[in-house]
Amino acid sequence: MQESPTLSFGLQIQPHARMVSIVRRFVEESFEKIVGDPEAVFRVSLAVHELLENAAKYAVGDQTGLQVHFETNGSAVRIKLTNQTTPEHIERLRTCISEIQTAEEPFVLYQNMMRRTFGIQKESGLGLARIRAEGELDLSLEIDGTMVTIVASCLSARGTPT
């Protein structure tokens, strides 16, 4: 059986707020041309946007690495964002992603986070909870010193994202 074709690419980006929507549009327009499922395109572009905004707010240094891997039948998607950040932010990320990973109902957690963080200007984790609840992607964290990689991914045996 022929394997599904894949689309993979990596970008090095300055973690600046003005770059976020530009990169999201680039990803969205690229995927729309080869993926027939607008929901799948949305899930990737949502994750790219929220992860890049996270980097724009909390990255240290001037480079952020974005890697996107997508199997065009929608059976697998993986978005990785790597940047340097502070130990304090890494600790907050660890706590937030752990809470998201252990939530039995991602939508309920998302709603709870909305309620408890709307007045908070500092880091809330709502973007990550949104990736899980609206984008239906699993989140994980890889840490190497002060380098941090957030991975948003899903793998579906059915050939469509779940």
């Binding site: 709307f118 809330s124 949104r130």
Partner: protein, 126 residues
């Protein structure tokens, strides 16, 4: 009764307009609501809420159909507004109607999440 209140935000990639007439406020959003316009959106929604209180609005309609994307920070701006409207005493409460495009994926999911915060005052038209 009519009044001439209006509020506008105009940025390179985002615009918001609001106007009031006969105790109804019409809001429309276009472009992309992201980190670069969060402060403007916060201010805009505070003004909309103030006007809704001032004119004893019955309903505020927000047209999202031309809004390409909204990030989680701007969603929080809406959560503030919804929570504030929800917390008003009975005679100051107003309904909120979201007008969405069924073909824009983020709108269905995100607006549903917002509406679930206050089903008693929010409805969605698609």
């Amino acid at each position: 009764m009519r009044n001439e209140w209006a509020e506008t935000v105009s940025e390179s990639d985002f615009a918001a307009q609001a106007s009031a007439a006969n105790r109804r406020i019409q809001v429309s959003l276009t472009g992309t609501a992201d980190l670069t316009v969060k402060a403007q959106l916060d201010h805009f929604l505070r003004e909309v809420h103030s006007e809704a209180q001032r004119c004893s609005a019955e309903e505020v309609t927000v047209d999202f159909r031309q809004l390409e994307f909204m990030n989680s920070s701007c969603l929080k701006s809406f959560v503030w507004w919804i929570s504030t409207a929800q917390g008003q005493p009975g005679d100051s409460k107003y309904r909120i109607v979201f007008v969405s495009s069924p073909t824009v994926c983020w709108q269905r999911r995100s607006l549903n999440a917002l509406a679930c915060l206050a089903n008693e005052i929010i409805s969605i038209q698609a």
